[in-house]
């Protein structure tokens, strides 16, 4: 098992460490969801978490911004351990954008108001400033013309792009994506992945839980393969997809029909 983060082939390892996971343990009652996760996320990196459903990828993401608490180990964000205090945790969350599988746009707000909500309510910006920022973010994800629409009038792909804009409007240091395309129709997956690719190209630090192996292969800088609450292998995409060192990784990829 290659549990420790070997840095060979890690092109952006020189950047500062944005998130550092050490021995992270998460339990739900008797069920151990995470059993000692060690992983580093450097500035500007796209780290993809792959592996079968229920292997702990999404759980790790939720622990990262404190939506779930951990029972053991440490999670450091920008050099400081995640605070336990709710107020301090809120401050940390404003610097981590999160995108959910089920979008979770606020249905009672227009696309523009969804994106402006964070700056307005959390960052206490004036309405004009929040709306200006929201317009810019909607334009960035290619949805400037949808600003007055309610989520119910948007396609799944459009809703997810608005959700990305909503997270970006907080000007986060890292973006957490929790299976952002799993709930989408095949024809709209591409538009969301394109936006994510564009973000990656701009140097955004990203942690992406995904089943899109082509995306992970092309855009990912570092891949962590999860199984049963552990990272069974991590490395650059060339290693994981072309020359996996563990049986479990080969199994997982072959089940997905991955042929490189």
């Amino acid at each position: 098992m290659n549990k420790s983060a070997t840095q060979s082939g890690r092109t952006k390892a020189g950047g500062i460490t944005i998130i550092r996971y050490r021995g992270v343990v998460k339990r739900y009652g008797d069920f151990q969801a995470l059993s000692g996760i060690d992983l580093d996320v450097h500035a500007g990196e796209v780290v993809c978490l792959i592996g079968p459903s229920g292997s702990g990828k999404s759980t790790l993401l939720r622990c990262t911004n404190g939506l779930e608490s951990i029972e053991g180990g440490d999670i450091e964000f920008e050099g400081t351990a995640l605070p336990r205090d709710e107020r301090e945790l809120r401050a940390v969350r404003t610097r981590m954008g999160m995108v959910f599988q089920s979008f979770e746009l606020f249905p009672h707000l227009t696309a523009l108001a969804n994106v402006a909500e964070g700056p307005r309510t959390v960052l206490r910006k004036h309405a004009a400033e929040a709306n200006r920022r929201a317009s810019a973010m909607l334009a960035k994800v290619g949805l400037a013309d949808k600003a007055p629409n309610y989520p119910s009038a948007l396609s799944g792909g459009q809703q997810q792009r608005v959700a990305i804009a909503r997270a970006l409007a907080m000007e986060p240091d890292v973006m957490l994506f929790d299976e952002p395309t799993s709930a989408l129709d095949p024809e709209t997956i591409g538009e969301v992945l394109n936006v994510m690719k564009q973000l990656a190209d701009e140097g955004m630090t990203m942690v992406v839980v995904t089943h899109e192996m082509t995306f992970a292969r092309r855009v990912g800088d570092w891949i962590a393969v999860f199984d049963a609450g552990r990272i069974v292998e991590q490395g650059p995409p060339e290693q994981i997809f072309d020359a996996p060192t563990t049986e479990r990784t080969r199994d997982f990829l072959s089940h997905l029909g991955w042929t490189g």
Binding site: R93, M96, E104, F106, P107, H108
Partner: protein, 221 residues
């Protein structure tokens, strides 16, 4: 059988005063029970732990006791216990509010709990506080989802005001009983009363339904 509806037209102002009292009692008790129910629900959902059993006891007892009993108790027993005199109208308003607020509270609670947890998670992830999430994310959606149930409650409120006739509130039912007894024309008088209740209720229930259809998407997450 001959019908003589002149009994209605001859006593329009008498019946009209009853209709006015019915409307006033409906609007007032509808409003106060919604406001009270809202706070009861907030206590049950977000209040201190020790308060919750009391709130649950209140809600369960109001659902178990007939509104007629509550009204009679409020009018005859409460003044003796509290040492205050109370007009029939005041007693009806208090009794109806106490009774209906329990139902309103359950509607609010069900509405709030029906908003998916993912909405709160998304708001938390933005860095919002619990209070901000309730106020800006959960409650607006919950209110939309509560509309149909509130429409039903409002119609029940209007209908329940008729029960206030037993404690001598001079509302439509009470005035109708008086007029029917004096004129010996119960068919005409009570048919008129039925028609008036229907005409008051129908636009309310239909109006709420139509409004809900227009805004339902705002609560659909």
């Amino acid at each position: 059988m001959d019908f003589d509806f002149s009994v209605i037209t001859d006593h329009l102002s008498f019946l009209g005063s009853g209709i006015a009292i019915t409307l006033l009692l409906s609007v007032l008790s509808g409003t106060t029970s919604l406001i009270a129910g809202f706070f009861v629900a907030l206590f049950r959902l977000y209040g201190p732990r020790w308060l919750k059993p009391l709130v649950v006891l209140y809600i369960d007892s109001m659902r178990a006791i007939p509104v007629l009993v509550v009204l009679v108790w409020t009018f005859f027993a409460l003044p003796i216990i509290a040492g205050v005199t109370m007009s029939p109208f005041m007693a009806a308003l208090i009794g109806l509010t106490v009774h209906l607020a329990a139902y309103a509270a359950e509607i609010v609670r069900a509405g709030v709990e029906s908003v998916r947890p993912g909405q709160s998670r998304a708001a938390l992830a933005l860095g919002m506080s619990r209070a901000q999430i309730v106020r800006r994310i959960v409650m607006p959606q919950a209110l939309v989802r509560m509309l149909p149930a509130f429409g039903s409650l409002l119609s029940i409120t209007i209908k329940d005001t008729a029960i206030a006739s037993v404690i001598a509130v001079l509302e439509l039912m009470r005035q109708s009983e008086t007029l029917a007894g004096q004129s010996f024309q119960p068919i005409e008088v009570f048919s008129f009363a039925m028609l008036v209740y229907f005409l008051m209720l129908f636009p309310v229930t239909r109006g709420v339904d139509m409004f809900y259809r227009r805004v339902a998407h705002l609560g659909r997450s």
